[in-house]
């Protein structure tokens, strides 16, 4: 739309207000804009290159996750949770399972806790790598993107070995896991780690002290701490503001209180802080997985209660007791006592919450997800107001919006 056509619609008052040289204009960015990976649309009100206002328009990937869960058994929801944050499906699986287990009031086995910690951290690395790679890509550092996704690819191969699929894992079950870690896991992890270390080193070499990159990241996308808290921001975003909050530390679940790890926090709350925090967290996650492999005890990964977990297959084939328990779980799903819980875990982008209401039947009466990036995108207009349009790209990248998660 040319300047003339815009002018046709302006009243004189508006022309006075806007002035001659700068004119406000409305720009739609998305829903399939190259710099908004994930389907989201921003309606920008621009004055020159300055963003006067911004309205994120989400929902293009809305699949009715919460409604689907109401019509499925508790176990059926696992494939659905895979598709929430598709960069770290294990964390969603674990978060959902922990919520239902909290509602059931059951305690999972020791080994299962360690395995769940390992897979959560594994996918935290994969999520952070995706975020770092995409940020670099959109700021022009294509090689960094390749190194990042190369390591992520290795993690996907490992994921496939653990559960049989790269992305749609559906690995965790209420009361345990579908299966133990494969025997080859520790060896394979060593290979993945070696490649990861090398790639992180290369990434640091490429952009760690590169002024072109740093100038785009440093002092852009700043949100002051008070506002960030008020918006409900969590995760690397909040830690970049200097707030020492991590669910794994504040309310340790699984085995996080037994591991030795640090929580990197930033000082300025800008994009560069978030980028560095993610890099540092990858290192922490690597060390956590190593510690878990070392500490992990032998034992079963499923609890021994046939009202919750499916009996072992050879029992099902050969004994009527296990067969009946199996049928009850398949036909009706596991019965969860009436009640409601809010259970929270640290997702890759912050607090991943599941609010589950049960009416005592085999199907949940309500499942609600609190996606971590939802609150970050909600704060985006606040961050970007008065800033330049080119800063929107790195800011949106380090917020790391995941379409599947925010739209559900």
């Amino acid at each position: 739309m040319s300047t003339e056509t815009v002018r046709e619609y302006l009243t004189e008052e508006e022309e006075d207000r806007i002035g001659l040289h700068t004119q406000e204009m409305i720009l739609n960015m998305g829903p399939s804009h190259p710099a908004t990976h994930g389907t989201v649309k921003f309606t920008l009100r621009l004055e020159g290159e300055t963003i006067r206002d911004l309205d994120p328009d989400i929902g293009y990937l809305h699949r009715g996750f919460e409604k689907m869960c109401e019509n499925a058994t508790y176990t059926h929801a696992f494939p659905y949770t895979d598709r929430l944050n598709y960069c770290s499906p294990f964390i969603n699986n674990v978060g959902y399972a922990l919520a239902v287990e909290k509602l059931l009031g059951i305690e999972i086995t020791e080994r299962c806790k360690y395995v769940r910690t390992i897979i959560s951290e594994l996918h935290r690395i994969s999520d952070h790598l995706t975020c770092l790679a995409a940020t670099s890509l959109e700021l022009g550092a294509f090689t960094v993107f390749l190194y990042g996704v190369q390591s992520r690819e290795e993690i996907y191969v490992l994921t496939e070995e653990i559960c049989g699929a790269r992305l749609t894992v559906s690995y965790v079950r209420i009361g345990g896991l579908t299966d133990d870690l494969p025997e080859s896991f520790a060896d394979h992890w060593k290979l993945v780690k070696r490649r990861l270390d090398k790639n992180l080193y290369d990434i640091d070499k490429l952009i760690g002290r590169n002024r072109i990159f740093i100038d785009r990241m440093q002092n852009t996308g700043i949100l002051d701490t008070e506002t960030a808290i008020s918006y409900g921001c969590t995760g690397p975003f909040l830690r970049a503001c200097g707030v020492e909050y991590d669910v794994r530390d504040a309310a340790p679940y699984l085995v996080y209180d037994r591991l030795d790890w640090t929580m990197p926090t930033g000082t300025r709350g800008d994009n560069w802080d978030r980028f560095l925090i993610r890099l540092a967290e990858i290192e922490q996650s690597i060390s956590m997985i190593d510690q878990c492999i070392e500490q992990m005890p032998e034992g079963p990964v499923r609890i021994d209660d046939w009202r919750v977990v499916l009996p072992p297959k050879d029992e099902v084939y050969n004994s009527i007791e296990a067969m009946m328990a199996h049928f009850k779980l398949i036909m009706e799903g596991l019965k969860v006592p009436p009640g409601e819980v809010y259970s929270y875990t640290e997702g890759a982008n912050g607090e991943l919450g599941f609010f589950i209401v049960s009416d005592g039947s085999g199907k949940p009466s309500r499942v609600h997800v609190r996606p971590p990036c939802y609150h970050l995108v909600a704060a985006l207009p606040e961050i970007m107001r008065g800033k330049l349009i080119q800063d929107l790209v790195p800011t949106f990248d380090t917020i790391n919006m995941i379409g599947g998660e925010i739209d559900r």
Binding site: D305, I320, M324, A325, F327, K328, E332
Partner: protein, 534 residues
């Protein structure tokens, strides 16, 4: 009668003297697990699942058999009792085959339910299972899998006490005991399928329903069997717009827990021979004539008919709402003559089956007075003498050749019916109406019970209930007074205007219905013999 007070799981219960612990617990909502106990059958106390601990009693007592005494303290849920339940289940399951995948009972099996609720742990016993005959046909409708049987003898007691034909017995001893018929006979009782319902496990299965659908995939709606004038309360189980089975629904005023085999299996006939499309004799082309267009033609013909020259042949198998709408239209708008047809009478027995095969004769005779209804012979005579120009046939009928011939001569014959029948060849226009399981309505049974049935299956797009068609027809004809939006509004008008129905409420018709005023409650002597005792 004197009462006694006892404590069950800490809850104080006051019941009549002679009540069993199990029934006393039920009055306060405590469920004691049981297999062999059935409220309508004698007490056998052989499954031992209902064992409970009673304070001061040396041994655990079977709750279905032991009667409540004053001051008794019963526990049905403590660790001690739970241990008993686990042990009994473990014992019952020793010889149970691993059959859930092929067993039709899976999904409504007592063993599965109780195992999950009261045990849920592996068996400690590992002995070879006793082999018994599998898939053995006992009779035309029932198949026995003796391995799955837990020998609760509910079926044996049913044939002895309810159907009274003594066709089943237990043979053999110890863990080789089996249910069987007497040598050389087969289980051909008219009530044999009730044993399938009361069988708590998958030992007796229905030959008709076998492997057709898994029960957990079925939807269930309340309905009334329209097979005879008894009007047994029942459930219709359906999935994907297909009826899979009828199951009796407990109604102490009508059928207690039971239902006859013929009534249960009648849905096949109704489904296979049902009319789905509008038929129009003078329609051109292959396209199905629309309901609206056909109704318009009928209204046209009615407008040309003089008052008093319309005949309406009513069937006693129409619902009260259909009859009421037809009566109002016929009487008020057209001054019509009413005739009664219906299905021909058949066999009867002392238990449930009645000779009159029409579900709603009492309703018809109450809503359209008996005097106003003329016989089929009168219809043939009136048609022959030319007293009727237009004949409207509503509902299901079995007509003799003479009547069909007479109908054929009438100038304009319209049918609102649901089944294919020979007399349809004499009809000019047919509008399909739904079956009992396809729409909402009420019937009056021969004993005067008004019962509601609800829609389970969705009929085709051109299938409309008779009352709806009549309301539309009245509108097209130019009689605007007849304008009902739903069955509920018709029933409301009936309950306000008709003396026999006065005070009835659509919602309150669930679950057991209401008694028609002026008709005494009469029950089948056989099935209510035990009920009277309690």
């Amino acid at each position: 009668m004197s009462t006694v007070t006892c404590t069950i799981d800490g809850v104080s219960v006051t019941v009549e003297k002679g009540t069993t612990i199990l029934e006393a617990a039920r009055t306060v909502g405590i469920e004691v697990p049981h297999f062999c106990y059935h409220p309508a059958l004698s007490i056998a106390a052989n499954c031992r699942m209902c064992l409970v601990h009673v304070e001061k009693a040396r041994n655990p007592l079977p709750a279905c058999h032991a009667t409540v005494a004053d001051g008794m303290v019963v526990d049905t849920a403590s660790e001690k009792t739970k241990h008993l339940q686990e042990a009994v289940l473990e014992f019952i399951l020793v010889n149970h085959p691993v059959d859930c995948p092929v067993c039709d009972q899976a999904g409504e099996c007592r063993l599965q339910d109780y195992y999950r609720d009261y045990s849920a742990r592996p068996s400690r016993l590992d002995v070879p299972k006793v082999g018994k005959p599998k898939a053995k046909p006992l009779g035309p409708n029932v198949i026995l899998d003796a391995e799955r049987c837990i020998l609760c003898t509910r079926c044996v007691r049913f044939t002895e006490e309810i159907s009274k034909d003594f066709q089943l017995q237990t043979i053999g001893r110890g863990n080789h005991t089996e249910i069987d018929t007497f040598p050389g006979t087969e289980f051909d009782s008219a009530y044999s399928l009730n044993t399938v319902d009361i069988c708590p496990v998958g030992a007796l299965t229905s030959r008709d329903f076998r492997f057709k659908k898994r029960v957990w995939l079925l939807s269930r709606h309340e309905t009334v069997c329209a097979g005879c004038a008894r009007g047994c309360a029942s459930f219709v189980d359906h999935a994907d717009n297909t009826v899979y089975r009828y199951v009796p629904r407990y109604n102490p005023y009508v059928n207690d827990h039971w239902m006859c085999d013929a009534g249960r299996l009648r849905f096949h006939e109704l489904q296979d021979h049902r009319l789905r499309s509008v038929m129009n004799r003078d329609a051109k082309g292959d396209a199905e004539p629309s309901v609206g267009e056909t109704l318009e033609r009928i209204a046209e013909a009615l407008r040309l008919t003089e008052n008093g020259r319309l005949g309406i042949l009513l069937s006693p198998s129409l619902s009260n709402e259909d009859i009421y709408a037809l009566r109002r239209f016929g009487k008020e708008a057209m001054g019509a003559r009413f005739y009664v047809g219906g299905r021909a009478p058949g066999d009867a027995d002392e238990i449930l089956v009645m000779a009159d095969k029409n579900a709603n004769r009492l309703g018809l005779e109450t809503l359209v007075s008996k005097a106003a209804l003329k016989s089929l012979d009168a219809l043939a005579k009136d048609l022959g003498s030319g007293a009727i120009d237009v004949l409207l046939i509503a509902g299901e009928h079995e007509l003799s050749d003479a009547v069909i011939e007479a109908i054929d001569k009438a100038a304009h014959v319209v049918a609102l019916t649901n089944l294919d029948a020979p007399w349809l060849r004499a009809v000019d226009r047919v509008l399909p109406t739904p079956q009992t399981f396809e729409y909402d309505g009420t019937y009056v049974s021969a004993t005067g019970r008004v019962q509601r049935f609800e829609r389970g299956v969705q009929p085709g797009p051109s299938v409309k209930p008779a009352w709806e068609l009549v309301c539309k027809l009245a509108k097209l004809y130019g009689y605007a007074d007849l304008d009902f939006a739903s069955v509920r509004s018709i029933f409301k008008e009936i309950s306000l205007g008709e003396a026999a129905f006065r005070g009835m409420n659509w919602k309150a018709l669930r679950p057991f219905g209401a008694q028609l005023a002026g008709v005494a409650e009469t029950m089948s002597p056989t099935i209510h013999a035990r009920a009277g005792k309690h």
